[in-house]
Amino acid sequence: MIEIVEVRKVFNAGRHNEYTALAGVSCSIASGQVTVFKGPSGSGKTTLLSIVGCMARPTSGRVVLAGRDITSLPERFLTEVRRRKFGFVFQQFNLIKGITALENVMLPAYPLGERRAALEARALGLFELLCIADRAREKAELLSGGEMQRVAIARALINTPETVIADEPTAHLDSRLSREFMEIVGRLKREGKTTIIASHDPLVYESEIVDRVISVRDGKIEPGDP
């Protein structure tokens, strides 16, 4: 379980372009469930995701992961936690051009010093799982939107994280591919993974796979949600 306690995030503090993305947010995210942060763009959902996923630190407040306060962990340990426990799927996919899909998927595991053969086998397994095994050796920029989406998901899963975080995953997908995405989320749920999604797409937050929807607006959680 992930707990967020009175988290505030202020960018460019003290300068003329000071901007408060999160103004005191508290919530709990249950394990093994699919939680969606719903809200318009600029509401602070992306910032919230990055703090939950240990990619950024809050300006004030605490983040408690499975009972352990990780807010003030040194950089190295925070990165280690993030690497092992979280997998990110970005809105823009953010694949590296010019290298193969397979290599893109293996990248997050490179610094961990795993033997190449085992890593490659696991990556190819993920390609199988996501039904894009035949695209593994293609250069990333030659893939279709849906294929890129799946490669991005595979990359998020390469280090077998407990939690998958996705930021506006259906923003560049049509309805069919959006539904396919939610099916994949369903599969992850059956495997016991926690999924956290930020989205303003009804196809996502109205899906029956979603366990809980939290509304975010202007850096605050809207009342009426537990």
Partner: protein
Amino acid sequence: MSRLEKQRNILDYTLSSLLRRKGKNAALTLVFTLVVFMVASAVLFAQAVRREASLVLKDTPEIIVQRTVAGRQGLVPEAYVERIAAIRGVSAVRGRLWGYYFDDAFGGANYTLMVPDAFPYEPGTIVVGGEVARNSRTRVDNLLPFKAHDGTVRGYRIGEILPTESALVSADLILMTEPDFRSLFGIPAAEVTDIVLSVRNPQEIATIAHKIAALLPDTRPIVRDEILRTYDAVFAWRAGLLLAILAGSVAAFIIFAWDRATGLSAEERREIGILKAVGWETGDVLTMKFWEGAVVSLSSFLAGIALAYAHVFFASATLFEPVIKGWSVLYPDFRLTPSVNAPEMAALFFITVVPYTVATIVPSWRAATIDPDAVMRF
């Protein structure tokens, strides 16, 4: 062994990344290799020639006495030989005859003519160096014509050709008897070109040289030490052409490093952001940048010095021929003994590989410290 695996993984990514711009990186590697090849060839060649000189010229005459007449080298009277012989400590004195002959028949070659102390053939016979024979397209027992001082043509039979292995000292030599030399050049019996002498005690060389200068004020003695030191200066870095090669190479490297150092493109910055976002630490990114520089520079450096060694010691430095030959018509066969100067090779490593690698890492420092969530905010 996970540290090693980690390095190999990062290296894999670096190589994939470099292969994305095959053409540019191949060209870079090629030029880098070429520059290292040129400089290393020059260094190896120079070192080998200097070493050959020091080993081979160690028995050069101990003292040579020349005479200056009106600011130019003039002939030495035979009488000087006896006067020098009278100096205490001198063990052997001899007047030498030698000079130059310009042969315009075959392209305009300059030969060095000498009368050695003991010449085993009778007058009318000469011994020639390898290049003389080659240039005149002649062999043993053939006649070689010379224009004498009085306008007549003399023919001398070639009795022997000096071995090729001695080319570096003998390529342009022509040896003949004293009577032949004197009649060819019209040098009277009482004169010699210069005087060579040896001393009983090598410690006394400088003292005796001083005495000769005092005794015969129109002469200049040259001692063995000075002769040997002349060849320390040959192909030295101070020499104009090698300095030009070095300057050109340094300029090339500055250009390489500048290309690397003028910051990263937006694309490169984005990619570093992605790597940070998927879990790479700052150190991992910098390791990748290190490999980026090291792959190109190390490959090129090793290839360059390997090719240089092969060029100088297996191909007799053929690429230097037009440069060294210059106006000469003759060109000795440089079968040099390999001699590797480790400090100079190490210096070459430190002025090529290290700056290039550093120039690849340093500009990336800033970008490598980017926050992992930055890519989400793009």
